[in-house]
């Protein structure tokens, strides 16, 4: 009889559920995709339902439910924090304690109530950073590897290192709250006017425009960094232990002013601060990884935790660091804790053996729901959408590749939804990377967001090293590493274009084409690369092949299928709404193709009403 283990992360942010059957990952999904509430922290009711349905079981067949962290230890940290900061931390105390008194101290009961009486299995609890470590090591292709997990904070740990071997992970050292790289990065996210816990990747995207002129100041005054990667923060510059803001007045005085108000103009100061904190982040990650390497002696590294989503730091670590191979969990944030916890229960609690597979046991992170052609057709008919079903795939691919070649923007909805924050070709908006207009159109008319951020390229794996400075056939299916565009594809900028690089308006700077694939080339010629291969990506790979045959270009633009503030679309209804409310030209739902120009007037969704549903991130 099979053993079913359900991993859950919840009650903080990014709730998720993951189901493992006999050690094999069957399903995993974030709750926000179903509820349409970004970073939904509630119990992942719908994600659990989906996981059970995907496995074809009900709650009575779950053997173990494992929660991704130890609530009492986390509560102890909270109480210690209040004790340390009293009497000036009342604002945070008033916010936090009722949540614990009402719910979080009684998690076994809460979980059982949510799963219903049918569930008679065990409810157990993992350690937060061990869950991250497990999510990084167990699905990786390595038999043994050093482990590095970095996030804001779990129970006490903020960074942890260890070693994985076979079916065992050993987390041997950690850095503890309040000294946290994740918190430090988030403090600068807050100070530069972006939203904590969702704007960090904007800071990373902003960094290449600036110079790290505050790096030394940060390392001198705010954060003491040791050679072994240990980090100590001067807490007088921060407010997160006692208030509901990240930074203190002292921090504001150090950087000559209050935080940038959200949505206001981004100045050179914010740009240089972004460059500076990114440089510090890379230094910390680099030194901590070296420390992990020294302790473990391994040439492989696995990473997880929110900071592991910093693909610029990951790219530098791979290029310049001591490891031959690095594997990063694509759901590196807390959502991935659900998967890690489930795998921990299988390997550590039950002591089951593990075979490291050269393939990808994360299965492209395509672990969410999928929808059949019949179901989609019925849905489209029911709402009166005009669509055409292609029974011949070659015909479909030819039409879509042709539209992209004409500069059209396509909503691409195929197969199982991605687990993790990135769209990897199942719920993606795609376009022609060669067109200088693609970036502007996608940003302003579809994503409705700041235009300084670059889009990520998808590249056929067999051509990756022709386009980017990587090894031949480099396997980067999760968009977690940055590499530079090859020299011979770069454009030499004219004097007038160089002059535009000093324009305070970042939209002017980003509009200068820097390569033959300008839509994905950042101002420093870098790109967040995702490789696409036949085994993992199926039809998406074949579409890119067809595009390559037509244009000679093995690269397309890929961005997540959503607008700003909206969770990535989950089902055909979400995708159709997003398509109808934006200026996307075409929507492909499995075999069904919809063209915007053919849709009846009454079906078009009002853009402003649609945007109003979502809080800006």
């Amino acid at each position: 009889m099979s053993t079913h283990i359900l991993g859950i992360s919840a009650f903080f942010h990014d709730s998720a559920a993951a189901l493992v059957r006999d050690g094999v990952i069957v399903a995993a999904a974030q709750e926000e995709r179903f509820t349409r509430t970004k970073h939904d922290p509630d119990f992942p009711r719908k994600a659990v339902d989906y996981c059970l349905a995907e496995a074809g079981i009900d709650a009575s067949q779950i053997d173990i439910v494992i929660f991704y962290e130890k609530p009492f230890v986390k509560f102890e940290r909270l109480i210690e924090t209040f004790r340390s900061s009293a009497p000036s931390g009342y604002a945070l105390f008033r916010e936090a304690v009722p949540v614990w008194a009402d719910q979080k101290l009684y998690l076994p009961r809460v979980i059982r109530e949510e799963l219903g009486e049918a569930f008679q299995g065990k409810v157990v609890f993992a350690d937060h950073h061990e869950s991250h470590a497990a999510s990084a090591f167990f699905p990786s292709p390595f038999e043994e590897a050093a482990i590095l997990t970095i996030d804001a904070v779990g129970e006490w740990s903020t960074t942890a290192i260890g070693h994985g071997n076979g079916n065992r992970i050993d987390v041997t050292q950690d850095l503890r709250f309040p000294h946290s790289l994740g918190m430090l990065y988030s403090a600068f996210t807050y100070y530069t006017g972006f939203k904590v816990n969702s704007g960090e990747y904007k800071v990373m995207g902003l960094a290449p425009y600036g110079k790290p002129i505050y790096r030394d100041l940060i390392l001198e005054k705010i954060a003491k960094l040791e050679d072994d990667g240990s980090l100590r923060l001067d807490m007088s510059y921060f407010n997160y232990c006692k208030g509901i803001t990240m930074t203190s007045e002292r921090f504001h005085r150090l950087f000559d002013g209050p935080p940038r108000p959200p949505e206001s103009e981004i100045t050179q100061k914010e740009i240089d601060l972004a460059a500076s904190i990114q440089a510090v982040c890379e230094d910390v990650v680099f030194r901590a990884a070296e420390h992990a390497q020294r302790l473990s002696g391994s040439k492989n590294l696995v990473m997880a935790g929110g900071v592991a989503l910093n693909c610029v730091a990951n790219g530098r670590l791979l290029r310049e660091g001591p490891f031959d191979e690095i594997w990063v969990q694509p759901a590196a944030g807390d959502a991935g804790g659900a998967l890690g916890a489930a795998l921990l229960a299988w390997y550590h609690m039950l002591g089951k053996p593990r075979d490291a597979r050269p393939g990808d046991s994360q299965r492209g992170s395509l672990l969410g729901p999928e929808f059949g052609n019949e179901e989609i057709g019925l849905f489209l008919d029911s709402v009166g959408a005009r669509h055409r079903r292609h029974t011949d795939e070659a015909e479909l691919l030819d039409q879509v590749a042709g539209l992209m070649e004409e500069g059209k923007i396509v909503g691409w909805f195929q197969g199982r939804m991605e687990y993790g924050p990135r769209a990897l070709g199942s719920r993606s908006i795609i376009g022609d990377a060669r067109s200088p207009d693609t970036q502007r159109t996608m940003n302003l008319k579809i994503k409705y967001r700041e235009s300084f951020r670059p889009f990520a390229p998808c590249v056929l794996r067999e051509h990756v090293s022709e386009v980017f400075e990587t090894k031949p056939n480099q396997d980067w299916p999760y968009m977690l590493f940055v590499a530079d565009v090859q020299e011979d594809l770069r454009r030499k900028l004219s004097d007038e274009e160089l002059e535009r690089q000093n324009d305070p308006d970042l939209r002017i700077r980003v509009s200068v084409p820097r390569s033959t694939i300008p839509a994905i080339t950042h101002v420093d010629y870098s790109a967040r690369v995702q490789t696409v291969d036949a085994e993992r990506h199926g039809r998406y790979y074949r579409l890119m092949r067809r595009f390559k045959e037509r244009t000679g270009c093995p690269v397309i633009v890929n961005t997540s299928f959503n607008i700003r503030g909206e969770p990535i679309v989950c089902d055909p209804g979400d995708a159709l709404q997003c398509f109808l409310a934006t200026e996307m030209d075409c929507l492909v739902l499995e075999d069904h193709v919809l063209l915007k120009e053919e849709q009846p007037e009454g079906l078009i969704v009002n853009e402003e009403n649609y945007r109003a549903q979502f809080t800006l991130d």
């Binding site: 945070l92 076994p108 050292q173």
Partner: protein, 186 residues
């Protein structure tokens, strides 16, 4: 039609139950008051009974009206609960935590930011909501918390249990989303 428009039978039962309870409670309070001030007599008791019966007879068929009273009562109760929670939390924080802050060191002072050795959880420790100590199957009650505090040597945390109980009693069942600009502690 007397205006029974409540869509949900559960709501309707709650409103009717509320009106019966509040009327009987008010009647009981009036009787107690009469006894206290010395106006207790058959006539005054009868008057109270008539008032209570009248309220029930007149009120119960007018569910729309008593629904308004019900909503007002709930709003007032929620407001009271929220204020009471704030008072309880403030007293607890400024008395207990501010005092504790002066009576000893904190983990921040004991622990540096340098790497600390740690151990991976044993297979038996997963049952526990707390740390690495092994434990029994957890029921999801404050008993788990008390046992964890005792086993892990953090006995002073037991003294927070009355606070939790008070907070649960004063739970206004409002939405408690985390503040938007922090993701720090809870």
């Amino acid at each position: 039609m007397s205006g029974v428009t409540l869509p949900n039978p559960a709501d309707r039962e709650a409103v009717v139950g509320f009106w019966v309870s509040i009327t009987l409670l008010a009647g009981g309070a009036m009787l107690a008051l009469l006894a206290i001030v010395g106006w207790w007599s058959i006539a005054t008791v009868l008057a109270v009974v008539v008032i209570v019966a009248g309220c029930l007879i007149i009120g119960l068929p007018r569910e729309r009206s008593i629904h308004r009273v019900y909503l007002l009562w709930n709003r007032a109760a929620r407001g009271y609960a929220e204020r009471a929670r704030a008072v309880v939390l403030a007293i607890w924080y400024y008395v207990v935590f501010a005092t504790m802050a002066r009576t000893g060191g904190s983990n921040f002072q004991k622990q540096g930011s340098d790497w600390l050795q740690r151990e991976t959880l044993s297979a038996k420790a997963y049952a526990n909501l707390g740390g690495s100590e092994t434990g029994d199957v957890q029921a999801g009650t404050l008993r788990d918390y008390r046992r964890w505090a005792a086993r892990s040597g953090r006995l002073w945390l037991v003294f927070l249990i009355p606070l939790f109980s008070l907070l649960v009693l004063l739970d206004p069942k409002g939405a408690r989303a985390a503040a938007s600009d922090i993701y720090t502690l809870y």
